[in-house]
């Protein structure tokens, strides 16, 4: 963290102690709250956020992938991250549970606060981070094991001492898969349809009792009906969990999320958070012309 960035960030980063706002002189309109706040954070969550990203930059080797992102991820809401390819949205998502640690040469500056602790602090165990902040990937990736073992796997690794039958049923019910598989729990997870496999992966993520679920284009490999089922499931899960989803499908972001952040790389070739706000506002009255151009298809 103390390492100097190899390239100079283009925006003047606000001091970390000042809170979330990173002034962006190019933003057009002011938002609520502190006077320095601009379009990227035009709302303040009503309760302490599930995650607070503070001036986060991510580098892959010498290349800056994401620059100076500050945003609050509200509790038990669905936050969608949208933007064109290469805009840094997946990079940000992976930073939220230290998945980037697994990529050689990846480094970050800034902080991601979770219950008041920086996830990138020295004493933090990344494995515990990933248990509390789970991830569901683009392509359903069940293990080549039974449905039951797929769900129980994480709990076994964590030395869970409770009732496995109860845990598996509860997780599968939460993932809206129980009724379809309850008679076939010994069947291989790989024998399920794509949509069922993705719900199995969600059940697997839920079984380790996370607080936050990160989803990286969870529906891009699914047909429209399976997609709608996952979206419906996300709305149900948002009663108990905080969800952050990266999606290329703007309609999906509009349908499913409470808040939307728009990212863009532009000329600079590193991603930036351009605008962040309530989904209904982002998709009806975006503040930044770049957001407008992207969501109306005038981009590029």
């Amino acid at each position: 963290m103390s390492e100097a960035p190899p390239t100079t960030p283009p925006t003047e980063a606000a001091p970390v102690h000042e809170g979330t706002a990173t002034p962006r002189p190019t933003m057009s309109r002011k938002s609520v709250g502190a006077s320095q706040r601009t379009a990227p954070d035009r709302f303040t969550p009503p309760e302490p956020p599930a995650l607070e990203v503070r001036d986060l930059s991510v580098y892959y080797g010498k290349k800056m992938a994401l620059s100076g992102v500050s945003m609050q991820i509200p509790v038990k809401k669905i936050t969608a991250l949208i933007g064109p390819s290469g805009c840094g949205k997946s990079t940000l998502l992976r930073s939220l549970n230290r998945m980037n640690d697994l990529i050689p040469g990846a480094r970050i500056t800034g902080a991601v606060d979770y219950h008041g602790h920086n996830l990138y602090g020295n004493s933090v165990d990344p494995v515990e981070v990933r248990r509390r902040i789970g991830m569901v990937f683009q392509k359903p990736n069940p293990f080549p094991k039974s449905i039951f073992e797929n769900v129980a796997f994480g709990a076994r690794v964590n030395g869970y001492k409770g009732d496995y039958n109860e845990l598996v049923e509860r997780s599968l019910r939460q993932a809206a898969l129980w009724d379809e598989v309850k008679d076939d729990l010994k069947k291989s997870g790989l024998a399920l349809s794509g949509g069922q496999q993705q719900r199995l992966c969600i059940a697997r993520a839920l079984a380790v009792e996370p607080e936050i679920i990160l989803m990286d284009e969870p529906c891009s490999a699914l047909d429209p009906i399976a997609t709608l089922k996952i979206e419906e499931l996300m709305r149900q899960l948002a009663r108990d969990y905080t969800i952050v989803i990266v999606t290329h499908n703007m309609q999906q972001a509009a349908r499913v999320s409470d808040y939307t952040g728009f990212f863009l790389a532009g000329e600079a070739a590193y991603g930036q958070l351009i605008e962040y706000g309530p989904t209904e506002e982002i998709f009806t009255t975006p503040m930044d012309p770049r957001t407008e151009d992207y969501i109306t298809g005038r981009f590029g």
Binding site: F283, T284, T285, T291, T296, F299
Partner: protein, 221 residues
């Protein structure tokens, strides 16, 4: 631009609004001309041609529904299409007011005028200007022009007040003029409503362009 076809469809919607605007303007013009000339044939034509306005409105509303369903528009495109549906409804109602004036002309037959037609044609001119300017402001997405339409409504309201007071005086002076006076009052009222609808279009223009819906209409009628 990745969505050229969609944006051409939006241009076509704007053309429909312009066309409807000009049909309405023509209807108001002919209705007032029928009044000035006491021409029942022209009045009949205005009544008959209202069906074309209704059909045009339905066709355009349908186009909007198709665009919403097929293109899932966002942001200004979404606001624009929703505004077109509201504006077409306003224009269709303005056409009904023109028809209303034509029907009054038919009712009046050749009853003598209780006062010379001076203020009503002036009022009609203002209402038509407002309507044309409102449609043009929308097509150009010009907020300043839209607000000018809103302030022009005050002139029409004042003229309506004037006509109202004059006709009341006529009726008080000679109760036998109550029916023909009421006919003219109805004409003036229809014109006042047309101007109000033009103000609605101006408000929708600001909404379409900015996302804010101002309240321009302070008319007391």
């Amino acid at each position: 631009m990745p969505r050229e076809q969609f944006h051409r469809q939006i241009e076509a919607l704007m053309d429909s609004v312009l066309e409807m605007g000009s049909m309405v303007d023509h209807a108001v013009d002919r209705a007032i001309q029928a009044l000035l000339d006491r021409d029942p044939v022209m009045a009949q034509a205005v009544v008959r041609d209202d069906a074309a306005l209704n059909a045009k409105n339905f066709e355009c509303q349908n186009d909007c529904v198709h665009l919403l369903a097929q293109q899932a528009p966002m942001a200004r495109d979404l606001r624009l299409i929703v505004s077109v549906t509201a504006i077409m409804t306003d224009l269709e109602r303005m056409g009904d007011h023109a028809e209303g004036i034509a029907r009054i002309v038919l009712m009046m037959q050749d009853e003598p005028l209780v006062k010379p037609l001076i203020d009503i044609p002036i009022m009609a001119g203002h209402a038509r200007d407002m309507s044309r300017n409102a449609v043009q402001a929308f097509v150009d997405q010009d907020i300043n022009a839209a607000f000018l339409v809103g302030s022009a409504d005050d002139v029409v309201d004042r003229l309506y007040d004037q006509i109202y007071q004059d006709l009341i005086q006529v009726m008080i002076g000679d109760p036998s003029t109550i029916e023909p006076s009421t006919h003219l009052l109805w004409v003036a009222h229809n014109l006042e409503r047309i101007a109000d609808r033009a103000t609605n279009i101006a408000e929708r223009t600001v909404y379409s362009a900015t996302g804010n819906l101002p309240q321009m209409d302070v008319s007391s009628y």
